[in-house]
């Protein structure tokens, strides 16, 4: 029995500041959000908010390596107003870059506080700059996740046309 089911997918038809998956059914065990993004600018940090919660209810631990930095960093932050999916804002090589991420929402419809795990990777063409990170996030709420908003912290930096987001449900 196949267990990954696409709940919704979108390919942006124009440059967009944010995108929201809403009315997420509570019939799966877990959710997986996949994104393949290109940005109009540089220096972005891309975040998520859940159920429209804009309060300081998000915590995060990150292991990442950025661009030409030779060492791996560990960063803990929070409480924040969202959790990051990608955040290589320092030392970026230019504005011609893209990134992808895969985010797992564990037991998203349950009554426990929500644990979220993201893998991200980024590259800048035509140079050889790359970066990667593992993001562990916690939403300090016991509510079932019914909507996911993806947005950028830099208002002038938009998700470009062709950016794709897909939300999967795991049975």
């Amino acid at each position: 029995m196949p267990t990954y089911e696409p709940i919704a997918t979108t390919t942006l038809g124009s440059n967009t500041a944010n995108y929201t998956f809403s009315s997420i059914p509570n019939t799966y065990k877990d959710l997986v959000l996949v994104g393949r993004c290109e940005m109009t600018g540089a220096g972005s940090t891309v975040y998520c908010q859940l159920n429209g919660d804009t309060s300081s209810n998000y915590y995060q631990m990150v292991i990442e390596r950025q661009w030409t930095v030779s060492s791996i960093s560990y960063i803990a932050s929070g409480p924040n107003t969202g959790f990051g999916l990608y955040g290589w804002s320092n030392g970026y090589p230019g504005n011609n870059y893209s990134f992808m991420f895969e985010t797992h929402f564990n037991n998203y419809a349950g009554s426990t506080k929500k644990t979220i795990l993201t893998e991200s990777a980024a590259g800048s063409a035509p140079s050889t700059y790359v970066a990667q990170g593992l993001y562990a996030s916690m939403w300090n709420s016991t509510a079932a996740i019914s909507s996911i908003k993806i947005y950028n912290n830099a208002a002038a930096d938009l998700f470009q046309t062709g950016t794709m987001f897909t939300l999967w449900g795991l049975k």
């Binding site: 196949p2 631990m61 060492s71 409480p79 349950g110 426990t112 593992l134």
Partner: protein, 175 residues
């Protein structure tokens, strides 16, 4: 993608247990993914480890490379690259961590039916609000055996997995 992930087994605990065994894994897939959502009824950061043994092999047959960070620590940490261990390690929350949270982990096993050593990679997190213990972990490694993976045995370092802990195994087909 939708046609290639299959549910092999799902165990959600209805009572506390010290060991969870997933057995009789069919050899009909290309790869395996084990997803774990676990919490422990013991306390103390040393109780956050969960050990996964392939085919219940407790010998020093697992090579690992590990990157991790934890609350209260400074910078990323590294472990392994040489030597062996006796299991694959993931993490769980416990009574010393934030209440009402479960850790999350995923182990990806490549080519689990091949005659070669089996490679795996795992990601795990025990979440934190920065006032209690938390860890983020990124492992890779190899099980030094040519045997087909037919079972996985998961055991906490101490205490028991609590009710609601979940262990889900998926099979992935490349065709």
């Amino acid at each position: 993608m939708a046609a290639t992930y299959y549910l092999i087994s799902n165990t959600t605990l209805s009572s506390a247990q010290t060991t969870v065994t997933i057995s009789s894994i069919p050899s009909t897939y290309t790869d395996l993914i084990l997803r774990v959502s676990a919490r422990n009824n013991a306390s103390g950061s040393s109780n956050d480890n969960v050990y996964c043994k392939i085919n219940n092999d407790g010998g020093s047959n697992y090579t690992v490379s590990h990157i991790y960070g934890y609350t209260g620590g400074s910078g990323a940490n590294f472990q392994g690259g040489t030597g062996t261990t006796t299991s694959i390690t993931i993490y769980e929350t416990d009574t010393s961590t934030l209440a009402n949270t479960f850790a999350q982990a995923e182990i990806y096993f490549w080519g689990y039916t091949t005659a070669n050593s089996k490679q795996w990679i795992n990601h795990a997190v025990a979440p934190s609000d920065r006032t209690g213990t938390g860890i983020i972990s990124w492992y890779s490694g190899r099980w030094q055996s040519g045997a087909v993976i037919s079972s996985l045995v998961l055991t906490p370092n101490a205490g028991q997995f609590i009710t609601g802990s979940r262990f889900t195994l998926y099979g992935i087909s490349n065709s």
